[in-house]
């Protein structure tokens, strides 16, 4: 996945420590998606993915930071969202990305489902925490 580090400099930041922060982060992402002119279906998919990843970060990573920004690439515009936590990391990422697998009490579709909902998906995990970066493009 391309590095969108420059975009993050101007990003909107939401600290996620409670479940109402997840709702806030979702609102920020939705507003950006609307501003970026994403069609309604894409908006909904992106916001849902952000909701899944934000809640994962809260439940399994003990909270973290969500950064979201508008990005442009070869004439199309999209929304970049980054989820960074300082949690224990995911021990077995291959298993965690499988449908229906969960270490908690959810449906086990959060990570794998979120990946299907967006155009670009990148996950880096280790003992220092987990970072998920996603991009959803306009058309």
């Amino acid at each position: 996945m391309k590095d969108y580090g420059t975009a993050v400099a101007t990003a909107e930041t939401v600290e996620v420590t409670t479940s109402s922060d997840v709702v806030n982060a979702r609102q920020v992402v939705r507003t950006l998606a609307q501003r970026g002119g994403l069609p309604l279906v894409h908006q909904t998919k992106l916001v849902t993915a952000a909701s899944e990843l934000g809640r994962n970060m809260l439940i399994y990573g003990g909270g973290g930071v969500v950064r979201a920004a508008l990005v442009a690439d070869s004439g199309r515009s999209g929304v970049y969202v980054e989820f960074r936590d300082q949690g224990p990391g995911i021990p077995d990422i291959e298993t965690a990305m499988q449908d229906g697998w969960t270490s908690g009490s959810g449906l086990g579709l959060g990570l794998s489902g979120a990946k299907r909902l967006v155009d670009e998906f990148d996950i880096a995990t280790g003992e220092g925490g987990t970072t998920v970066r996603i991009v959803k493009w306009g058309r």
Binding site: V41, K45, V47, T48, S51, L107, L109, G110, G113, R116
Partner: protein
């Protein structure tokens, strides 16, 4: 020695000029609040406060956290609470205390001894004003959490749509706390209204993620255990596509795009059940 004589001077000044100071204090605070509080009420509040501060200073010095100030502190907390409820700002609330400084300044800051006394008294008032801000914020937090609770109750009505059919129009975010309220209300209404069908309408739910889906599924399973059929309606096109991409399966739970379709389906089922009943009797 110096501290004692300061206290002494302060007590003397406060006691001797009580009515003048109180008058000025009420005028300054009243000016700040711009008539949103009656002078009589303000006079009573500040009068009580003035007397309790004076009594506390007389008894034992200028430490706002000391035991002698218990009464003054509880008066202040009460004042802050009522200000917070009436919609005054925290600045206006704290200014009610700070204004006493302005009143005392010309009377005390005439010589060195007086100035020192004034500074010590100012420190005491700073402590007390901080207390009002703290009490103010605590009250606001109480108000917010009670409103959140009210909202939770308000936003989850269960309505009777037809004989034997109840509807649950969901609006907003569906978290665990709300699901619990919805589920309890729905199950109770099913019993009370003797209904066989429940329609859960999610037109007003902007985001259906796995958590929302899981909560919906739990509610449906609970209703089924009570012998009621559940239909989920209000699935908009973008939500349908998102649910499919996420991989959520609603299994054999019937879903519909509109509440009207869901109601028609429920009524059809009820009619069919009634027909079966008649046949069974014959």
């Amino acid at each position: 020695m110096a501290a004692e004589s300061s206290t002494h001077l302060l007590v003397e000044t406060l006691a001797a000029n009580r009515d003048t100071f109180l008058d000025q204090w009420i005028r300054v605070v009243g000016g700040d609040l711009q008539g949103r509080l009656s002078t009589a009420e303000l006079g009573r509040e500040l009068g009580e406060l003035y007397d309790s501060i004076l009594a506390a200073v007389t008894e034992g010095g200028l430490d706002g956290r000391a035991e002698q100030f218990d009464e003054a502190r509880s008066l202040l907390i009460e004042l802050s609470r009522s200000r917070a409820r009436q919609g005054f700002t925290p600045t206006e609330t704290a200014r009610s205390v700070f204004a006493l400084k302005e009143v005392l300044e010309p009377a005390l800051a005439t010589d060195e001894q007086g100035a020192r006394t004034y500074l010590q008294f100012a420190r005491l008032l700073d402590d007390l004003a901080l207390l009002t801000t703290e009490a103010y914020i605590r009250t606001r937090e109480e108000i917010i959490s009670s409103q959140a609770e009210q909202l939770l109750e308000l936003s989850t009505p269960v309505v009777k749509l037809w004989d034997g059919v109840v509807g649950v129009p969901l609006v907003g975010t569906l978290d665990s706390a709300r699901t619990q309220v919805v589920m309890e209300k729905l199950l109770q209404t099913l019993v009370d209204s003797d209904s066989t069908h429940a329609i859960i309408d999610i037109t007003g739910v902007p985001t259906v993620d796995t958590q929302v889906a899981q909560h919906l599924l739990k509610t449906v399973v609970a209703a089924r255990m009570m012998g009621a059929q559940c239909i989920i309606s209000g699935i908009r096109p973008q939500i349908a596509q998102t649910i499919v991409a996420l991989g959520i399966e609603f299994g054999d739970i019937p879903t519909n795009s509109s509440l009207a379709d869901a109601l028609r389906q429920a009524l059809t089922e009820i009619a069919r059940d009634a027909e079966d009943d008649v046949k069974g009797l014959l």
